[in-house]
């Protein structure tokens, strides 16, 4: 007969004008019921505001105590455990609290044992052992039909395989590089691919350079400080200089051709987790929430400080035209700063707070000016596209995983995103239609950083399973004839 019940349920559910029985109570209903329930408890030491702290339940085994009905509406905060509130426990609790202030009574052991026996019989429990506040009892089950959004984080969710691919993208990495002793920290930016085709990787206290064309490996730097580690690496636009941010709050500048350290810039009070270049200006963001702008050409390098974040700055990128600097922090804010150095005190042009997780993934669109893509952390999992001129969010969608890195790929006009908890995949999305092109699977740990090769054909992903995988996904069609440079110049002149 149970299937009739199911049918009835479906009928009642599909009939849209039936009263809703399973959903949590409406706000006005909740308010009405709380005001009714808090009146009798005038003796309670806690106000009704702190509902979660306000109960106690002695660990007694007497039956009947567990059966008390809820006085507070249990459906209000559907995922909170609101324990049973019982007036008897309030009395015990206030007794125990006031007993602390009284002087201890000296009594002989014989008398105290009888006293104890009496007290146990009278109170039903041993008051000495009773806790004033005790979270006990079985946790309430979620109301029917409640869906936990965070379920996607606990295990890998297979994403539906309904993607249309117009070109062939190999699902296996072209190459896997070993990255031992990699520091598994979300807030660091440990990999960057420079224009000279060098991949710079920071592993614990070393910085290595991998020559992508020859395959040579060079150890560039080892931290001298004990227990120090490298926090960020960033290539300058032309690929000649490498900026290295360290845990002892310094930013170092290295010349790669001569493999020499040029200068070490200090000024930060906490580790330098992100760096970004704009011609000769180097911006560095640190754990203190401050962003320093340095001019690397002069001795007195510190130009200005940008204060916009309350917690660690984890993402920092200049727009390709140098007009804006985007910064994302652990305080879930994205700040857009103007590239023009106006005054000492600079306020961000825009401040986006829609993300609910730390924003480390930031990427400017190279072919469309003023378009910024941002990705949120574990609690947010969304990628958002912003128009920085107007300050509006163009689109946002859920990726079901912590977004740790975003890169735009100009070859086929796509956006690549690297993910952490819980599926450790790399997704490729078509821009601007934002449909998923493919997903690259293979990492056994969360993806921490992405970097695009200078020719745009390969994306490298650095992951907590101590590997770097190179995915060749944007290979240009080799037979497509590249427009000869001469004709374009002629076209320009004719125009």
């Amino acid at each position: 007969m149970s299937h009739f019940g199911f049918e009835n349920d479906i009928h009642s559910v599909l009939k849209l004008d039936m009263p809703i029985t399973n959903a949590p109570m409406a706000r006005w209903q909740r308010k009405a019921s709380t005001s009714n329930s808090t009146n009798p408890n005038t003796l309670s030491p806690n106000k009704s505001a702190n509902r979660s702290l306000s109960s106690s339940k002695t660990p007694s085994k007497t039956p009947g105590k567990n059966g008390k009905t809820q006085s507070t509406p249990s459906k209000a905060g559907a995922d909170r455990f609101i324990p049973v509130r019982n007036s008897k426990q309030m009395d015990v609790a206030s007794f125990l609290l006031s007993k602390e202030n009284e002087p201890a009574e000296d009594s002989t052991s014989a008398v105290s044992s009888t006293q104890k026996a009496w007290s146990v019989t009278l109170n039903g429990c041993d008051l000495e052992e009773a806790k004033i506040l005790h979270l006990g009892g079985k946790p309430l089950n979620a109301p029917e039909g409640y869906q936990n959004n965070l379920k996607v984080l606990y295990s890998q969710t297979p994403t539906p395989a309904s993607m249309k691919k117009t070109r062939y993208i190999s699902t296996h990495p072209e190459r896997i590089l070993d990255a031992p002793e990699l520091r598994n920290d979300f807030y660091l930016n440990l990999m960057d691919w420079g224009r000279q085709n060098y991949l710079a990787v920071a592993l614990a206290e070393h910085v290595y350079l991998w020559d992508a064309s020859q395959g040579d490996i060079v150890l560039l730097k080892k931290m001298e400080e004990e227990n120090g580690y490298i926090c960020s690496v960033s290539w300058s636009r032309d690929g000649n200089f490498l900026a290295v941010g360290t845990s002892d709050c310094k930013v170092e500048l290295w010349d790669v051709q001569y493999q020499k350290r040029l200068r070490s810039m200090d000024g930060h009070r906490a580790r330098v987790g992100c760096l970004s270049w704009n011609d000769h200006i180097l911006s560095s963001g640190s754990r203190s929430g401050l962003i320093h702008q340095h001019d690397v050409r002069v001795a007195d390098h510190h130009l200005s400080t940008l204060r916009g974040h309350a917690q660690e700055v984890c993402g920092l990128t200049w727009s390709p035209d140098g007009r804006y600097l985007a910064s994302g922090g652990n305080d879930n804010t994205v700040n857009i700063w103007s590239g023009v150095q106006s005054s000492a005190l600079q306020n961000p042009v825009h401040s986006f707070t829609e993300h609910e997780g730390a924003v480390k993934a930031l990427a400017w669109c190279p072919w469309q000016p003023s378009i910024l893509a941002t990705g949120g952390g574990t609690s947010d999992r969304h990628i958002r596209i912003w128009n920085v001129n107007s300050g509006s969010c163009i689109s946002a969608w859920d990726t079901q995983s912590q977004v740790s890195s975003l890169v735009f790929s100009p070859n086929y006009k796509e956006l690549v995103s690297g993910h952490g908890f819980s599926h450790d995949k790399v997704f490729i999305w078509k821009y601007p239609s934002l449909s998923k092109v493919t997903e690259l699977q293979g990492h056994e740990g969360r993806v921490l950083n992405l970097a695009l090769s200078p020719d745009g054909s390969t994306v490298a992903s650095l992951s907590a399973d101590e590997t770097i995988r190179l995915w060749k996904c944007f290979e240009k069609d080799p037979t497509k004839k590249a427009k000869p440079a001469a004709s374009s110049i002629i076209q320009q002149h004719i125009r």
Partner: protein, 376 residues
Amino acid sequence: MAEGEAEWELCKENIQPLRRGRAISALHQALQQQEGSSAALNQQKQAYETELRMYDGDDPLDVWDRYIKWTEQNYPQGGKESSFSILLERVVMKFTEEKKYHNDARYVDLWIRFAEGCSDPLDVYRYMQSQGIGTMQASFYISWSEEYEKRGNSRMADTIFQDGLKCGAEPLDKLQQFHKALQARVCRQMMTSVLVQEKADEPPEPQRISLVELKAKGKKKTFAPINRVTGSSVSILKCFFFSLLCIQLPQKSRFGHTVMAPPPKANFQPFVEESDQPPAVTPCKVNPAVNTVLSARKPQREEQTPLKRLQDRQQHMQLQQEDESKTGVKSMYCKELLFSGISEFCFEELRAERYRQKCSRRLETGGDATEQPQSS
């Protein structure tokens, strides 16, 4: 507690959310130890490993269970150093033969966690059912149907619940409750899909047609084109023309990445500090034979899934037993004890632990002897 609260929030992205939640004290301890040295953590790990080997009671699963729970809580980022997946695999493999654990709630829980970490959990669940592991536990059916639901197969999810109800899995009311919740969700989905209007059709993108012949490109070495969308015959003609024209393929170095044009000169000249002391480690080339950092390895096909390994191992063990009787080769040292946990123990460590236990037992009996002089 405001100070303490802020601490974990500063590292909130490094904390993997767990279905079972995290104990805040363990989290604080783990986060503190990450910044400094991890000596205390390693010590505790060593203690667990030793306990694994020295345990001689009748519930070895308990040690494994506690060890795994401790690892989960104390390594918030997951990752390689926690070796969580290895632990799970070991414990799962170790007790597959023991019938008494097959329906033990803790063991089934460990199997479920193992399945969640595998690439194809449905396989694992089916294997479990065939071996009779967890068939009397409600949690097994609940997680299995959840897997189906994630893949959108709610019909199978319902079937699993009915299977569980037929087998009489414990606890029964939990199973029924989850079953009802599933039905409610399915109804809700049906309701919303009826309400939602269909989106306007996007302009049809060029489609790839199956089994159509691709025009091979290139003169010297033919290879398939990247863009596989076949348009009209015009495009085919275009391709034809391109292949006729003389194309200069970019030079390919040994590693396949195209050689770039000579690097542009720097736009600016950075200020160079006068440094009095040279850096401690001068930049040098890394010899790949010595140091394997950033050395490449060929991507191997992932055929050896953990489940396969488990099945192989069972066969292997059977064969091994046959082998032993045939060839008579038997290891004369306590091989299982040494390799029991994650890390390999050496003989001295086992000896040291046995000695320590003997000493502590002697202290206890010696202490007792002073109190009651008539002890044996």
